[in-house]
C-alpha cells in the first residue's frame, strides 16, 4: 500500500508527518518504506538518517550528434516541441535543460545522425533507517527537471508493506509524479487563507487523478475556521488536527523524530494509521 503525504502549500509539515508516520508504522510492526520524493528540497534524511547506503546516479537519455552523418537538413530542430535543438548546416546544438528526452528527434532525422547518450541530473539513494527502508532522490543543483527523477524513484520502490511517500509541494507535474498510483493521498494543510487556497487546488488535483484525499490540519489552532468549513462542506475526512506546540518545533529543530516522545503527536499518528490502514477512505490515484 502506498500512502502519499502531499500539500499544495509548502512548509505545512509534510516531512514532519511522513517521517514520524513511517516511524510509528515500523514501531507497530508494519514493513515500512519511507520515500523522499521532494527531490528539489529533500529533507527526510535529516530525521530518518539512513545507514547501509547505496547511491546511484540518475540519468536521462540526451540526443547527441553522431559524427559525419548529419546533412544539416534541420528536421530535428523542426520536430522538437521544446525548442531544445538548434541545427545549423554543420552543427547540432542540444540544450539539455530544455530536452524532455522524448526520443522524437532520432526518428525525425532522415540521416540517422542522432543517438542518445545518458546525461546525469541527480542521485538516487537507498538505505535502512532502523527498521525503515529508506529511499530518496536528489536533483543536482542547477538542473531544472525534477519529474523524471521522481518517476524513477517511485517506480523502483517495491510496493511491499506500507510505502510512505513524502511529496514535493505544489500542484503541477512534480506533485503528479509523486501521487501517481497512490492508494491513499493525505494532504497536510494549515488553517490560514494561504493554506485554504492551496488545499483547494490540491484537492482539485487529487480529484483529477481520480482519488479522494484525506486531510491533516497542522498548527490547527493558529489561524481561522475557513479550512474547517471548507473540509466539512466538501465532506473531506480529517485524519487529525495537530495544534501548534513549541516543544514539537524544538524537537524538529534538533533533527529528531517527535513520535517517540511527544504523546499528542503519537496519538494523532495512531489515529491516522488505523484509518488509513483499514483503507476505509480514498481510492487509487490514476
Amino acid at each position: 500500500m502506498r500512502i502519499v503525504i502531499a500539500s499544495g502549500k509548502g512548509g505545512t509539515g509534510k516531512t514532519l508527518i511522513a517521517t514520524n508516520l513511517a516511524w510509528m508504522l515500523a514501531e507497530v510492526g508494519v514493513d515500512t518504506t519511507y520515500v523522499d520524493a521532494d527531490v528539489e528540497a529533500p529533507n527526510g534524511h535529516l530525521f530518518l538518517p539512513p545507514t547501509e547506503v547505496t547511491t546511484s546516479r540518475f540519468s536521462s537519455p540526451l540526443p547527441t550528434l553522431k559524427e559525419a552523418t548529419c546533412s544539416g537538413c534541420g528536421e530535428c530542430q523542426r520536430f522538437c516541441a521544446f525548442h531544445a535543438i538548434i541545427a545549423t548546416t554543420d552543427k547540432v546544438l542540444v540544450f539539455p535543460e530544455l530536452c524532455h528526452a522524448c526520443g522524437g528527434c532520432l526518428d525525425a532525422c532522415p540521416d540517422n545522425a542522432l543517438e542518445e547518450r545518458p546525461r546525469e541530473s541527480g542521485t538516487l539513494l537507498r538505505g535502512e533507517s532502523g527498521r525503515i527502508h529508506f529511499r530518496s532522490g536528489s536533483l543536482d543543483v542547477g538542473e531544472p527537471r525534477s519529474t523524471p527523477i521522481i518517476e524513477t524513484l517511485i517506480a523502483e520502490t517495491p510496493d511491499t508493506g506500507v510505502v510512505v511517500v513524502d511529496s514535493p509541494p505544489g500542484t503541477s507535474c512534480s506533485a503528479v509524479a509523486a501521487m501517481k498510483g497512490a492508494d491513499q493521498v493525505v494532504l497536510v494543510t494549515e488553517p490560514t487563507p494561504f493554506g485554504l487556497h492551496d488545499l483547494q487546488l490540491a484537492v482539485e488535483l487529487c480529484r483529477k487523478m481520480g482519488c479522494s484525499p484525506s486531510v491533516i490540519v497542522n498548527r490547527s489552532d493558529l489561524g481561522d475556521t475557513q479550512v474547517q468549513r471548507y473540509l466539512e462542506a466538501q465532506s473531506i475526512p480529517v485524519l487529525a488536527q495537530i495544534p501548534f506546540d513549541r516543544t514539537l518545533s524544538d524537537i524538529y529543530a534538533r533533527s529528531e523524530l517527535a513520535a517517540p516522545t511527544h504523546e499528542p503527536l503519537r496519538q494523532a499518528l495512531r489515529k491516522i494509521i488505523s484509518t488509513v490502514l483499514t483503507n476505509s477512505i480514498g481510492g487509487k490515484a490514476a
Binding site: E40, L139, F194, G223, A286
Partner: protein, 302 residues
C-alpha cells in the same frame, strides 16, 4: 528598473508574508507571484483584477477514435506513459501528455492531432500597493517555468508603463525549473529561511544555485526565536558561502490569524520596525543602485 526575487528552497518559510510586507513599505511597486502552482501573494495584497490573459503551455495530443486502428505503435513509442489502451484502440492521458509529438510522427493512420493546451491564466490586479501580477496554473499541468516567465515579463512591462522603478518577485519553493525561470533577469535575490535542519539544508542548495546563476544573495532568518542553535548554524553556513544575513524576524503566533484579516507582518507592531530595518538594508545593496549593471545571466530556462 530593478528586480528583487525572494526564494527559499524549503516551502513555508514566510516568503509571501515578507514580500507582501516589503510591497507595503515600498509602495507604489509592482509585486509578482512566481509561485504559479500555489499563488498566494494577491490574497494578502488585495485589489481587483483589471487585466487577464489565457496561458497556453504547448500542445496536447488527441487520438481520433474513428481513425485509430489499435496498432499500438504510439503506445510503444510514448515515453511519458501518456497513451492508454481502451480496447480495442488507444487514447491519450492528458495529465501525462507532454506534447512532444512522438505519437503524431509515429502514427501511420493520421489518427493523432494536436490541440492547444490551455494550462492557466495570468492576471494583473490593481492593489493599494500598486500592481500585482499573479498566475493560476491548472492543477496537474507541467510547464510552469514558461508561465513564470510570462509573469516575470508582464511584471517588467507593467512597471515600465506605470513608470515604477522596482519589481518584487515572490518565488516558488524548490530549486528546479520554476525557480530558474524566476531568476532569469533579477538584480538581487533575498533568500528567506527558517531555523530548522530542513531550512538550513534547502538554504544551502538555494545558495549554491544562486552561485551558479551568479546572483548576489541576501538572507533573512524568519521565525528566528524557534531555535537559537539553528540560527547560529545558519549564520555559519552563510558565512562559509559568502551570503550576507541581513537580519532575523521572530516567530509571532498571531501572524497566521492576522492573515485572515488580510493583515501583513508590517501591521504587527513588534515586526514592523524589524521589517523597516530589513527593507532599508535591502535597498542599500549595491546591486540596486540606479544604473548599476545587471548581474551576468546564465542561459535561462523559458
Amino acid at each position: 528598473m530593478k528586480v528583487i526575487a525572494f526564494i527559499s528552497g524549503k516551502g513555508g518559510t514566510g516568503k509571501t508574508s515578507i514580500v507582501a510586507s516589503f510591497a507595503r513599505l515600498a509602495a507604489p511597486v509592482v509585486a509578482a507571484d512566481c509561485d504559479v502552482d500555489a499563488a498566494n501573494l494577491a490574497l494578502l495584497l488585495g485589489g481587483t483584477v483589471d487585466q487577464q490573459e489565457r496561458f497556453f503551455a504547448g500542445e496536447l495530443a488527441q487520438i481520433d477514435p474513428d481513425r485509430c486502428t489499435g496498432c499500438g505503435v504510439c503506445f510503444e513509442r510514448c515515453r511519458f506513459d501518456a497513451i492508454r489502451p481502451v480496447d480495442p484502440i488507444f487514447e491519450i492521458d492528458p495529465l501525462a501528455c507532454e506534447g512532444c509529438r512522438v505519437c503524431l510522427q509515429a502514427c501511420e493512420f493520421d489518427a493523432v492531432t494536436l490541440v492547444n493546451n490551455e494550462a492557466g491564466k495570468v492576471m494583473v490586479q490593481t492593489a493599494p500597493t500598486g500592481a500585482v501580477i499573479q498566475a493560476a496554473l491548472e492543477p496537474a499541468q507541467s510547464n510552469s517555468g514558461k508561465l513564470v516567465t510570462r509573469v516575470r515579463v508582464l511584471a517588467r512591462e507593467k512597471a515600465g508603463s506605470m513608470e515604477l522603478e522596482l519589481v518584487l518577485l515572490d518565488g516558488p519553493p524548490g530549486i528546479g525549473c520554476p525557480v530558474h525561470a524566476t531568476l532569469a533577469d533579477v538584480d538581487l535575490v533575498v533568500v528567506v529561511t527558517e531555523p530548522t535542519p530542513s531550512g538550513e539544508h534547502d538554504l544551502a542548495r538555494g545558495l549554491e544555485l544562486l552561485h551558479q546563476f551568479r546572483r548576489p544573495a541576501l538572507v533573512i532568518i524568519n521565525k528566528a526565536d524557534l531555535s537559537a542553535t539553528m540560527v547560529k548554524r545558519i549564520h555559519r553556513l552563510c558565512e562559509s558561502l559568502d551570503a550576507e544575513v541581513i537580519g532575523e524576524l521572530p516567530f509571532v503566533s498571531t501572524v497566521p490569524a492576522a492573515l485572515a484579516q488580510r493583515q501583513t507582518m508590517v501591521d504587527d507592531e513588534t515586526l514592523r520596525p524589524l521589517l523597516e530595518a530589513l527593507w532599508a538594508r535591502i535597498q542599500s545593496h549595491p546591486a540596486l543602485v540606479p544604473d548599476s549593471e545587471p548581474a551576468v545571466v546564465k542561459a535561462a530556462t523559458p
